[in-house]
Amino acid sequence: MKASVLTKVATQSILKNKMRTLLTMLGIIIGVGAVILMVAIGQGAQGQIQRQIEGLGTNLIVIAPGTSNTGGVSGGAGSFNRLTVDDVEKLERETVLLAGVSPVIATGSQVIGGQGNWRTRINGVSVDYATIRDWGTTSGSFFDDADQRSMARVAVIGQTVKEALFPDSDPVGEQIQLRNVPFRVIGVLEPKGQSAEGTDQDDVILAPYTTVRTRLSGRSFVPQILASTFSPEEIPSAQEEIALIMREAHDLAEWEADDFTVRNQADLTDAAQGTTEVMTVLLSAVAGISLLVGGIGIMNIMLVSVTERTREIGVRLSIGARGSDVLTQFLVEAIVMSAIGGALGVGLGFASAQVLANATGWSTAISPTTVGVALAFSAAIGIFFGFYPARQASSLDPIEALRYE
């Protein structure tokens, strides 16, 4: 049969049974749509967490006090178990592999200035912090070595703080009061959004750790030290280097375990990815089931119409169609239906992912792989359930097919 005739016969047959066609396609539409939506949610969550962790800065290494294994050393709460500014300075002096090192001395405070007052976090950090966290300014600039050495009362403020205190003006050069200590705003940080834990990273004020330690906090220990390498490949050796320097700084004997932990971004990512992967797998399973249910629906409809279709095959065979003509027709029908159904399903998946994203603020991601797999699956289902009964029927003799009940 010519291709044009074949298309004509197949289209006629599809249009002639609108209800059957619609029901058949509905299974595929919903199945494919569900797969795409579910995977979009899962991958969106994964992508969001990935971005948030990357948002911490590239090639990040986090040094925290305490042993990584809980049954650790006897030392307990001695000052040895803490990280200090001396540790930071020693790391800075002796490191070869690190691109930057910065303590994070966190304290909270009321800020007064501009339009009023605002409660926020104040982080005492070093000059390297901007590099480590890959964090630029939208206005003004970060503080420099001179500020750090001279314990200058300068501050770089986050977007949220800027919005709260200086909504309509550029705060660079303005005065603010932190615990009654006047600081000069020298820069405004780029917005970074929420962290993986859901805190607003822009609700922060950065100042030289030297200043924060002497003027605001008064304590000499450091809750956390951040460092970064020049490239991801250097991270493992940099971690070893840090460990060596830190053990020396803490005067640890060979038999003593580390009283600090050094973790890299991959460790952090792994933990977070683990949970979202479980979620994605679960969602995909749900979606897979709905695709299967769709497939069973198609099979049901095909089985219901098999008597009618077998007779149709009988009629066609009796007037001179070859078995192969009939098979090709059914194959084309199945392909057309699952292609249209698949395309509509992809559309439905996209649309519902968009609606969901708008309604909940979740981020969703649709990859070409998802679309491809969903389409391939729907084509397989459509072809299997549409084509298989036809194959059976077309191998009958015309008379048997006509007599089929």
Binding site: Q12, K16, S318, I319, R322, L402
Partner: protein, 275 residues
Amino acid sequence: MTTLRASRAADRGIASVSTDAGDVVIRTTGLTRVYATGRTEVRALDGVDVSVREGEFVAVMGASGSGKSTLMNILGCLDKPTAGSYELDGIRVEELDKNALAEIRNQRIGFVFQSFNLLARTAAIDNVELPLLYDRSGRKIDSRKAAAEALERVGLADRMDHEPSEMSGGEQQRVAIARALVGQPSLILADEPTGNLDSRTSVDVMTLFQDLNDQGITVIIVTHEPEIARYCKRIIRMRDGRVIVDEPVRDRRCARDDLERLAYLDEQNVAEVAV
């Protein structure tokens, strides 16, 4: 060719009986068909020898279960004999494969079923066009136009776009006949074509078959109604899968005349009622 045959047939006139000297179209020898159903075997055909010449008009008669349909299905290349041979236009049909049989069904035979076997929810013209869509002979035909002409020939020019469910049984059978003749076959086979129709419509359908036969087409129909068989030229009677009688029709009738007579009687009746 068709027109030549047609004029020859017209010369002979409708009264001519089975003395036609046309070529042999169908020849079966020892045709046997056994259905194996579970443990029992049914010999539906048990050694049938028949010859049919070009231009004949044969009625196959016999009680239900005597093997008429089985014979027709084999003659129509819809089924194959278990034993014996069937020659159609000199071709040994039992030696052909499925595709060659499909080709023969498409090119040489028009088959009409008792239950019409039209495609549901499909316009008359699409149903009639169907055989031409499977035509592989390479002959150039405007299948749409041919289908419309075939419908005109059976008097359904005004029903082309109707679906089977919108037509009476007689109209559906006409569509089926149009479908059978659209490919210009030389042989038309009809298995109880009037079996589902009332007597008036039956006569109506028989006028079609007589017209086709007058145009030179060989026609074989199955019927168990003697009145219908009298429109044919030759009767083959079967019993238990064998041919028991094979004779010409003596008092052959013209379906068109009968139809006119019926119409006249109707008028009389209406007139009587009116008086």
